[in-house]
């Protein structure tokens, strides 16, 4: 086999076809999205498979740590109402999140890229738009323990989708403990809070959530579990 001149453009039929394929996948065109979506998505899949072998596991690259105080100032300036900072630990990116909808006691907060988090009285009950979302929760007893800063135990249920898309429930027994009061001052928040530790366990699954709750029962800061694959979500309220 002769040595290939590396500077020459790809000339084998395979290379030409591959180049054309990539161009078209980027530019598959038409009004029938059901036919063009496939090739676009397939390109994404090729990237994720190469990522798999590169050892990255498809994980989003860690973003450089932003200056939190600066981010808080800008977030507060951008909206007159409630706003929080959130970090999905797995992605290590800080999100600015504002409330988008409410239904009864549930408030849904939305990120600029259209992912959402729903809370009931500050306790995370569902997420949307991520892979492996938390679909819904039954957590009323737990919410009472947390917002009233009590010690004791309660059961709480998380609902997920299985691999085939069925609703599955994870019911865990949880214990609640409180810590010494902590003063939190960030953004428009200036509150004396009680840390509440929620420890839940079932079989091999163990979850530990943390809530900093003010005297009115508001969760000002928290670290809450989303799902096995998504891990934990950290929130910091900037304005209630």
């Amino acid at each position: 086999m002769s040595k290939r001149n590396l500077s020459s453009p790809p000339s084998s039929p395979l290379a030409r076809a591959a180049a054309l394929c990539v161009c078209l996948a980027l530019a598959a065109c038409g009004t029938d999205t059901s036919k063009t979506a496939g090739s676009r998505a397939a390109l994404g899949a090729v990237k994720s498979v190469t990522g798999l072998f590169a050892g990255g596991g498809g994980k989003a690259p860690a973003k450089a740590g932003p200056d939190l105080a600066d981010l808080a100032t800008r977030a507060l300036a951008a909206t007159p109402g409630p706003v929080m900072l959130g970090v999905v630990e797995k992605y290590e990116a800080t999100l600015v999140i504002a409330p988008n909808a409410s239904n009864g006691d549930y408030v849904t907060w939305k990120t600029p890229d259209l992912r959402t988090f729903s809370f009931k009285q500050g306790v995370l009950t569902s997420t949307r738009g991520f892979g492996d979302d938390l679909m819904s929760s039954q957590a009323d007893d737990a919410i009472a323990m947390i917002t009233q800063r009590r010690t004791g135990s309660a059961t709480r249920t998380w609902y997920f989708l299985s691999g085939v898309g069925n609703t599955t429930a994870l019911k865990m027994n949880c214990s609640y403990a409180t810590g010494d009061p902590v003063h939190l001052k960030i953004g428009a928040i200036d509150a004396r809070t009680t840390p509440v530790v929620e420890t839940c366990q079932r079989g091999g699954v163990k979850v530990q959530n943390l809530y900093w709750v003010d005297r009115a029962g508001n969760v000002v800061k928290s670290r809450q579990w989303i799902s096995g694959a998504m891990g934990y979500f950290v929130t910091q309220m900037l304005r209630q």
Binding site: L24, G30, D132
Partner: protein
């Protein structure tokens, strides 16, 4: 080396997790083996293998022998604290070469890392150092191939085999075995002689589901094996990276805002059209087409087509949510009718109060609150979305198709460009065409007609591949309709498929909540020219079937077609598929017609396995597309069916009760 759970060449009693689906390719010496294996139930493993042997004919060194075979393994006993797992298996039980074998095998774990296996085998697995015999193994009966060799099973000499596997860590597993396969045929024919009964191997996990193995075989060969495994129960990607849905907008209470609950808006003529236009825009952004709307002071019905989501329930949930954001408070009853091909499939009715109340509850609660009913007919006041018809859609996109284990290639593939367009004149009346141009292909090509003694309805595929570039895949006018409650109809006219043109009519009876469907299809077709443009050949025929479809409700579905096939032969096709709620399907089919095994040619009758993988499962992005692959016997003329697009059951059933129930988990997604 056989693509089933096992040691190097010897089987074990292990089974993969239910639903496990794997592709394996292994090679050593003159042998190559590609295997597709599927864990049908927790106990039953089935596999299909495509094998090649170089040097099979001593006189012709370039000749490579290709062979297809099927294996089955059933786990009789699960492993317990003191007892091993025990399985019983058949290898190559329908094949054409004398390499079939049967075995009983036991495997026991000792600790977490070590597994010990021992078994006895008959046939090929009883060919070395037999320790006993159960009668005399009768010779392979002469006659057509492709039928089970049941008269040989567990007959004749049996021998012992065994081995150990040791898991060093999550990546590396070491294996050693004693093989009871003497390679008698290989030795007699002279293409392979073994030196030792011992095999050793190391298996390395490259990534979850991807394995590479290296073996030292029979004292003189190095073997390599690569495998990829998937499980429908475990998506390769995260299952829901997409835009979050719009959220429910609850109404103010009647006492707090009585004005919002008024019904005067019904009398304003602009309200309905204004709402319809706004809804069409909002639904369009989430991949849903609003076909029509009917509105009164208390009830709203939307007819929608889901273009984006693998789960119709997900499209339903998104539509209901958007409805809460649009309609005045007095509208309490929401009906969403799912459409496909301009045809209503089912109506899902929910009270708006339930939608508001259940938004943050688990999806099964919303299912309990929903009513699913037939959607035939058009209710009073239904208004088509203005400007929607006639609709023109087109696409230009690359395509990639794979043929597995057909002809003399284990894998054949084609890459090309496809230009497709559809023009929907009114709901249900669609003119559509698809044109393709090959860029790269190793599909089999031929320069002369096949030697089949039947009319060449499929066997000239090589000529079609060779001459049809570019080709008109189809050019049809199709009319889909609902003649009555529970009934669906289709008439398709034109260039129906790459090899046939004509007219095909079909009717289907399928109640929305029924597990049983009954259908009938009749077609008059003329064979198309090899160049797949507009010309026709002089072969024409009438073909048609009556069909029954039944969903067993436990993940298995079956279909029976009885009728006249393309070559004029009469017979029946029976198929069974395992289906998963996320759209995965793995199944097998067989066709028996009055064509004799001799006239049919190799394989004796048409049979195959097929699988369908939803793109959403593979890519983690919403998509309605499935990739479908069928592995069939060679392209033969007996038992061949017309492949017309838009066959009713495939898309009608997707919008019915059981399919909705199966994918309801994504309702609030």
């Amino acid at each position: 080396m056989f693509g089933m759970p096992g040691l190097v060449e010897m089987p074990t009693a292990e089974a993969a997790p239910s639903g496990h689906f794997s592709f394996t390719y292994g090679t050593y010496g003159p042998f190559g083996r590609g295997t597709m294996a599927f864990q049908v139930t927790p106990r039953l493993t089935a596999s299909f293998r495509y094998s090649s042997i170089a040097g099979y004919l001593p006189a012709d060194p370039d000749y490579v022998n290709y062979d297809r075979s099927f294996d089955l393994r059933f786990r009789v006993l699960d492993e317990s604290k003191y007892l091993p797992a025990v399985s019983i298996g058949l290898q190559d039980f329908m094949g054409t070469t004398p390499s079939s074998s049967e075995y009983i095998v036991a495997t026991k774990s000792i600790g977490d890392r070590l597994r010990v296996t021992g078994g006895i085998g008959w046939g090929r697995l009883g060919s070395l150092n037999a320790i006993g015999a159960t009668g005399v193994r009768p010779p392979r009966r002469p006659g057509p191939s492709g039928y089970p060799n049941y008269y040989q099973w567990f007959q004749g000499d049996f021998a012992a085999f065994g081995g150990v596997s040791y898991k060093v860590n999550d990546k590396i597993t070491l294996k050693a075995e004693y093989s009871s396969d003497a390679y008698t045929l290989a030795g007699d024919r002279g293409y392979y002689t073994r030196n030792s009964p011992f095999n050793f191997g190391v298996d390395y996990a490259l990534a979850p589901g991807w394995n590479l193995a290296a073996y030292y075989m029979y004292g003189n060969q190095i073997g390599l094996q690569f495998s990829v495994a998937m499980n429908p129960n475990r998506p390769t990607s995260h299952s829901g990276t997409e835009e979050a849905p719009h959220f429910v907008r609850p109404r103010p209470s009647r006492s707090a805002d009585p004005e919002a609950w008024g019904t005067d808006w019904v009398n304003e003529p602009e309200t309905g059209p204004g709402l319809q236009a706004a809804l069409a825009t909002a639904l369009g952004k989430t991949g849903i087409t609003l076909n029509a709307m009917a509105l009164t002071a208390t009830r709203a019905e939307l007819r929608v087509t889901n273009n984006r989501y693998n789960s119709e329930a997900q499209a339903l949930g998104r539509t209901f949510r958007i409805m809460t954001r649009a309609f005045p408070a007095s509208v309490e009853t929401f009906v969403v009718t799912l459409m496909r091909n301009g045809t209503p499939l089912s109506s899902v009715t929910m009270s708006r109060s339930d939608i508001e109340r259940l938004e943050h509850a688990p999806a099964p609660e919303a299912f309990a609150a929903a009513q699913i009913t037939d959607a035939a007919g058009r209710p009073d006041g239904m208004t088509l979305t203005p400007g929607l018809y006639p609709r023109f859609n087109w696409s230009l996109a690359p395509y990639f198709s794979i043929g597995l284990f057909g002809g003399e290639q284990a894998v054949s593939a084609e890459l090309g460009l496809r230009l497709a367009g559809s023009y929907e004149i009114t709901p249900g009346l669609v003119l559509s065409a698809s044109l393709k141009k090959t860029i790269l292909s190793n599909f089999v090509e031929a320069t002369s007609p096949s030697d089949s003694v039947l009319p060449h309805v499929r066997s000239d595929v090589g000529l079609y591949n060779a001459q049809g570039d570019p080709s008109l895949e189809h050019l049809t006018l199709a009319w889909y309709a609902r003649p009555a409650r529970d009934l669906y109809s289709r008439v398709t006219f034109g260039y129906l498929e790459p090899m046939f043109a004509g007219v095909s009519a079909e009717v289907l009876w399928k109640p929305v909540d029924s597990r049983l469907g009954l259908g009938a299809e009749l077609a008059y077709v003329v064979q198309r020219d090899y160049d797949q443009l507009l010309g026709l050949r002089d072969y024409s025929t009438v073909t048609g079937h009556v069909s029954a479809y039944y969903d067993f409700g436990n993940g298995f579905e079956t279909q029976l077609d009885v009728g006249r096939y393309l070559a004029g032969d009469f017979g029946a096709t029976v198929s069974i598929d395992r289906t998963f709620a996320n759209g995965w399907k793995v199944g097998a089919y067989a066709t028996f017609t009055d064509v004799s095994a001799e006239d049919f040619g190799e394989g004796s009758f048409d049979k195959g396995v097929r699988f369908s993988v939803p793109m959403e499962w593979a890519l983690g992005k919403p998509s309605r597309t499935n990739t479908q692959t069928t592995i069939m016997s060679l392209a033969r003329d007996g038992g061949a069916q017309l492949r017309v697009e838009g066959r009713l059951f495939d898309w009608v059933n997707e919008g019915h009760g059981d399919a909705l129930a199966a994918r309801w988990g994504r309702f609030w997604r």
